[in-house]
Amino acid sequence: MNTPLLDVRDLVVRYGAVTAVDQVSFSLHSGETLALNGPSGCGKSSTAHAVLQLRRPDSGEVRFEGRELTTLTERELRPLRPRMQPVFQDPYGSLSPRHRIRDAVAEPLKVQGRWSREGGPDRVAELLDRVGLDPAYGDRLPHELSGGQCQRAGIARALASDPRLLVLDEPVSALDPSVRAGVLNLLADLQDDLGLGYLFICHDRAVVRHFADRVLEMRGGRIIT
């Protein structure tokens, strides 16, 4: 068996005296969806942030594409960050209220030095089209879109970084049941086409039952299954 895309060993995250994530271990391969399921406060979002190194874990290993992340400095980590992207729960909160959708999707290209005057706008239009948004929506501000459209824009922004892993932090919990299926189908299509690995954070087992390849149950900071 080849090396896993993501390999987490004995991850610990503490907030003061509280241990939010306690000795969590799992691994995930490309093209695979692993769900972390549990009630609120069980440490699943802390796990997601620690995997993304957005909050440095207190101990344990996070090995991504064979490379250990926890020992890297912030500067060493920055070029690797695009390879693993988050999608957040709150579709509006994850986009800057002051920037147009097009600028939000273009920003990773600019930050990562892949923007050009000719190719840039086309790439943004292509990404918006890829997530099922009419590129005309690029001119709008987040509050002018519906929750589902915003979440698609958030996914387009994540794809702009050409990631291998998406950490989906309850990506459909804040959406209407009617648009949930659409977003989940989009994610499934993207995974088939691009071979992405998904770490899917969720508190509703019914949502992930059909979507995930494996489901890990978390309670009180520990994985119990």
Binding site: L54, R81, Q89, S96, P97, V111, Q112, R157
Partner: protein, 593 residues
């Protein structure tokens, strides 16, 4: 939120102590800071006929201990201070302590009377809200709160003292002498207290429990008492700030009514360069401010009780008083027309034949004591006042933006800055650098940043906590990219708007320093100075005093109505986003006006 409450006291506490020490050290170092030779002052005061020869000056200098370095000076001053020795007045040669104590007694009596009056006025402003229910009396109260003490004192002197002749206007010989000063000092404070409570009450009276109690047949009086009890603890810190404001207002009021209080002592000492007396008086004023702040903090703890100290029971967001845009626009137009008209005329030509002329076709607002055209002086005085105020605004905006990223450091320094009224800082700066526009601007800038910094800190915290900023880190953006593309743009624009709203208030603070002779110097046509100059002729030529007084009142009105209009506009917009916590925080920052 709770993390912030637990984490900050150390940083805030350290800066609070450091800022306080810095202020006290500045007071102690005044003789060294004031570049001019104090020995000259002393020599002139002690023996007017003696020539300022080098030997005579050296003798005075070693007599005062000025030949030692600044650190020795500070050390010996602090050591004497601990023994209760405030030094000897350079001018009169008497001990400073007795003058400070007697001044303090007079000022405390005056402030006590003013505070009682303020409470009465606040009760009168709040009563209609409790009796009639929802409607807020905030607009009228805000108007009263914006009128600066020196303006009110001058108008009260003019109307009650001079025209009607009801009350004595100068001195301190009995209860009758206390009425006008207490009125001038108490009305703005009462307006502020009344406004704070009246603004907060309607939202509290809309809370569920009021309906429940009413349905259960609880009397209106008991509901009112409970609502007040719900509102007051959160407002006590701002009550404390109003009390601190009294110490600054006392300087102006005591000067106008010739009350021998500590404020007038401090101002007189600053003007005559009698630094030991000034040190003693300013120290007493600082102490007064700190004690009032401590009393406010203690009262709040007692009112809240142990369970609620962490402010877990926040007040509902106050519903701001909406103002029709026509009101600030009208005030602005009237001011702009008067200023524009005046700018076309000559403010400096002295015409002794036309001294104190009544308003006429050739002089629409009359002439002053030197026969200069009043409207021309008003117009020409506006440009430098507004320009200086704009510079002060820009400076405090810059400080606020920097400190917004260091909320721990800012909180401690802000506590000290809040405890210092502009007049007292103005006295200190004027004593160190000499009176002037630059010094006055520096003094106002030193203390006008805290509300802006609080606003900036709230916004920075809000932006930093947002998911889109986390997404920025995830795409590999550098801290400088995040700061310049996302954090600063979200913070700078709203804080800059807030700073603009404070422009009229800052102009008033500058005018109050000008009025006391601590700002622009004659013959500059600065508005505060105009009002001060015209006081001497108030009986013969009331119009000369009335014109700057009305102009300043219009400015105060503009400050209040402009702020109310902008606040009323802001609320529905941010409220729509559904983040009630953040709008509440923003409003808290705004309430600290």
């Amino acid at each position: 939120m709770r993390l912030r409450v637990q984490g900050l006291p150390t940083a805030a506490g350290v800066t609070r102590v450091l800022s306080l020490l810095a202020v006290v050290a500045a007071v102690g170092l005044l003789p060294w800071l004031s570049g001019r030779d104090p020995a000259l002052t002393v020599l002139r005061a002690r023996s007017a006929e003696q020539e300022p020869t080098k030997e005579a000056l050296d003798a005075v200098r070693s007599d005062l201990g000025l030949d030692a370095g600044p650190l020795d000076l500070l050390g010996s001053w602090a050591a004497d201070l601990l023994h209760g020795d405030l030094g000897t007045s350079w001018v009169s040669g008497t001990d400073v302590l007795p003058s400070v104590v007697s001044g303090l007694q007079v000022s405390l009596a005056l402030m006590g009377a003013a505070f009682a009056l303020a409470l009465l006025l606040a009760a009168a402003l709040v009563a209609p809200v409790l009796v009639r229910g929802r409607r807020s009396a905030g607009a009228f109260a805000a108007m009263l709160a914006a009128v600066p003490e020196f303006l009110l004192a001058t108008v009260a002197l003019l109307v009650c003292g001079v025209w009607l002749g009801w009350l004595p206007t100068s001195g301190w010989q009995g209860p009758a002498y206390m009425v006008l000063p207490a009125l001038a000092l108490g009305v703005p404070a009462g307006g502020l207290l009344g406004r704070l409570v009246a603004d907060a009450l309607p939202a509290v009276l809309d809370e569920r429990w009021v309906e429940l109690w009413r349905g259960a047949g609880v009397s209106r009086a008991r509901i009112s008492a409970a609502a007040l009890k719900r509102v007051l603890p959160q407002l006590v810190p701002q009550f404390g700030m109003a009390a601190v404001g009294l110490t600054g207002g006392a300087v102006a009021v005591e000067t106008v009514f010739a009350v021998p209080g500590i404020g007038r002592t401090a101002l007189g000492a600053a003007k005559s360069q009698d630094l030991p007396l000034l040190q003693g008086a300013v120290l007493a004023l600082l102490l007064l401010g700190l004690v009032m702040g401590a009393v406010a903090a203690f009262t709040r703890r007692r009112l809240l009780g142990p369970a609620l100290r962490d402010a877990s029971l926040a007040l509902p967001a106050a519903r701001p008083v909406r103002t029709h845009p026509a009101i600030p626009l009208t005030l602005l137009t009237v001011l702009a027309v008067a200023i524009g008209w005046g700018l076309l005329r000559d403010p400096y030509t002295v015409n002794t034949a036309a001294r104190l002329a009544a308003p006429s076709f050739s002089h629409p607002l009359g002439t002053d004591g030197l026969g200069r055209d009043v409207i021309a002086r008003l117009g020409h005085g506006a440009a430098p006042t507004v320009g200086t105020a704009a510079a002060v605004c820009a400076l405090s905006l810059l400080v606020a933006l920097i400190l917004g990223f260091l909320p721990g450091v800012a909180a401690g320094a802000a506590d000290i800055a809040n405890a210092l009224p502009p007049v007292i800082v103005g006295i200190l700066v004027a004593a160190a650098a000499g009176p002037g526009t630059g010094g006055a601007a520096l003094a106002v800038a030193l203390i006008s940043w805290p509300p802006l910094a609080a606003h900036a800190a709230a916004l920075v915290q809000e932006v930093r906590a947002s998911a889109f900023l986390t997404a920025q880190r995830a795409i590999g953006a550098s801290p400088s990219w995040i700061l310049t593309r996302h954090v600063l743009p979200s913070v700078a624009a709203p804080v800059a708007r807030h700073a603009l709203l404070r422009l009229p208030g800052i102009a008033l603070a500058l005018a109050s320093l000008g009025f006391l002779g601590l700002g622009a110097q004659p013959p500059a046509p600065e508005w505060g100075l105009l009002l001060d100059e015209s006081r001497a002729y108030v009986e013969r030529a009331p119009w000369a005093a009335l014109a700057p007084a009305v102009a300043l009142a219009l400015l105060a009105g503009l400050a209040v109505s402009g702020a109310a209009y902008a606040q009323g506009r802001r609320v529905p917009r941010t409220g729509g986003a559904g983040s009630t916590g953040s709008t509440g925080k923003k409003k808290e920052a705004l309430v600290e006006v």
